[in-house]
Structures are given as C-alpha cells and as structure tokens.
C-alpha cells in the first residue's frame, strides 16, 4: 500500500466518521428536543422513496448502469491498491557496457544478500530477502533468523558489512536497507548442572 492509498483511506474514514458524528448528534438532539429555536426540527422525518419521474424515466436504467460501472471500477482500483505486489523485478546498474545496459534481477539481489548473511556463520541461521518499492523508494527488505544466544552487536556488524558490499556491488546508493532479525524459537531444554 502506498502513501496515497493510505492517505485516501484516512480521509474517507475521517469524513465518514465526522458525518456520522454530526448526523447522529443532530438526531439525538432532535429526538430529545434539545435543538435550539430556529433550527430545522420536523415532527417526523419522512422519506417517501425516489420520485416516480426519476424511476420511470427511460434514461434511469442507463444512469444506474453507468453509476454502477463507475463505482465498480473505483472500488476495484481502491481495493487493488491495498493488495498489489511491491516487488521490484529488475534494477538498472550504473556503468557503460558496450552497446547494452546493466540490469540486475531484484530477486537475485535479495537472495544474494540473504545467502551472504546465512553463509557468514556469525549467528544468522536462515535468511530471505527481496527488493521492494516502498513509497517510491527502493528498499532491500531482508528477514534473517538469529539464534537466541546470538551476539546482536556481531550480527549488526555483519549486516553493515553485507549492506556495504551490496552497495559497492550494485553501485546504487539510493537503495535503502532494512534487515529484520527474527529470534529462533526456544531450543530444547538443556540439562543444568548444580
């Protein structure tokens, strides 16, 4: 979900909330007779349905169809914004190859960083990574499993080294990096000597 979708969600929810507070507040005051003099306060609220001139008009079904299609497309687009994949397929690399361009597969970069963390044998027991587009910024998103007794400083140093090497390898300094450390579940109980 990008920032625009998140903002749209908040604005729509906020407007709906404020409308309910205003409408509900007025209805409470109306039902209890608390409305000041001069405010609109009918004896009963009557809704008598859609005017027959509207429902019986020959163009009514077409307007309904058009409105339905517009709402369907709008709802679908809004929904897809929440679920669309953020994975980046390929990454262009700086350089001047003869007659071509340098392109690195986004998944390969993620897998490579994950494999490097795992192979270093410094507390990381498993890792996976991917390159994603996050609010228009490239982010190398890695999850690394660490042992419960892992030295966090050592793992942190390792992450810095691998990220530095990824930067040199790609030549791209605009990629941000986020490595999540996941603590492996509790190991089998150890015998304790007393």
């Amino acid at each position: 979900m990008n920032r625009a979708t998140s903002g749209a969600d908040r604005v729509v929810v906020l407007l709906l909330g404020l409308a309910l507070v205003a409408g509900g507040g007025w209805a409470v005051a109306w039902a209890q007779g608390w409305l000041p003099t001069g405010w609109w306060q009918p004896d009963t609220l009557n809704y008598t349905g859609l005017p027959s001139s509207l429902v019986d008009a020959p163009w009514w079904p077409w307007v309904l169809l058009l409105g339905g299609v517009v709402l369907f497309v709008l709802g679908l687009a809004w929904l897809l914004q929440h679920v669309r994949s953020r994975a980046v397929g390929s990454l262009s690399l700086p350089g001047e190859p003869r007659g071509g361009t340098l392109v690195l597969d986004g998944a390969a970069l993620g897998n490579g960083v994950a494999a490097a963390l795992e192979d270093a044998g410094r507390g990381v027991v498993g890792a996976r990574g991917k390159l994603v587009d996050e609010h228009g910024r490239l982010v190398l998103d890695v999850t690394a499993g660490v042992r419960r007794d892992a030295d966090l400083r050592e793992v942190g140093r390792l992450c810095d080294e691998i990220a530095a090497h990824a930067r040199r390898t790609t030549g791209r300094s605009d990629i941000a990096c986020r490595i999540r450390l996941r603590v492996a579940p509790r190991a089998a109980p150890r015998a304790r000597v007393r």
Binding site: A8, V21, G24, G75, S173
Partner: protein, 207 residues
Amino acid sequence: VSADSTADVRTPVDHAGGQQSEDASGDTLPAARVPRSAARAGWLGVLLAVAVLGLGVLAAYDATTLLGWVDAEPVGTPVLDTDLGVRPDTATTVLAVALVLLGLWLTWSALQRSARRGARLATSTGVWITYGDLERLVNGTAEDVDGVVSAHTAVSRRRARVSVQMTAPEVREYVQVAVTERLSALQSPPRVTVIGNPGHDDGGEAR
C-alpha cells in the same frame, strides 16, 4: 549483466575464509525506517472499497434487470423506493447515539498513528527486531543466568520488564546486568527493570 537467482554479494571476508576485515559503517546502504503496524484506517479502507465495489455491482445488476437484459427483479431500486418515517422517540435516540459512537471511533481510527513494530539496532544500515523477538531474546538471556528458574519479559520502546523466578536474592542483580548488556546493542535501549520472585528449581531436566 544478468544474475540468475542469487547475486554474489558476499564480502571479501567470506571469500577469504571468515576473518573480519573491513569496517563498513561509513559506506553502507542507508537505513530504511522500522515498519509500523498496519493502521486501522487501512483495514477500514479495504472494507469501504469492498462496499463501494458491491454497490457498483448492485447498481449494474438493477440496471440490467430494468433494461430487460436479465429476466429477474431489481434488488436495490425497491429498497430506495420504500417509504420511511422516523419519529423522535427512544429508539431513534438509541440508534443515533450508536451512530455517534461509531462516528467517534471512525474519526479516532483515521487520526490514530500506527505504532512502530520494533526497535533499531545501533548499526549504520537498517537492522531492527520486533518487541516480541526482543522478549524472546531477553528471556533466553535471563534464563541463562545461574540461579534463574524461569523468566517472563515484556518489552516496549522505553521499558523492558523482566520477571524471574530465582533461587537466591543476588540473582536479580546478575539478571539486570546480563539483560542490560544484551539490550545495549539497540540504538535506544529500553530501561531494564527486573522483578525477582523466590522460586525453586524442580530439577525437571537435570537428574
């Protein structure tokens, strides 16, 4: 140049066989922010999007029945065409109060800022760990201290509260030191509070 499925980003250290050599802190990838938990407005947005989509389907269905393309009765139009009268009575008040409460909850949800999911390590690039994983880590640290029977931890941004069952009073201090040292790898370590309770090791696994 195209990589197959795994780009080789192993450091020279790895190629050389495991010795640590370079300090990468100055020239590493910049840190991305620690993610925040999904805002409630996001889930409400999904529900509203589905509602809008459903409304569109209903309107289009009604239109096709009214145009005679589908041999069925319209569903939405008769509902819109129903007479409705609302009186200022108790039932209306109750319903209106419910709507106000729902509106307040929606407003609060829209303005609520989602919380960070974890804490950053003191590294140059972005390395983070969830509070739940930190609790597991701290539990392990506390339980490794001699004299601790069991430990339970709650970690938040500012505070780590460790409850331990221990066999001697001085163990509390050892746990405090061990946990504080463990959490010092974080960029902003939380304040550590250790609560010691007398406990007895039933010796379940040590026979």
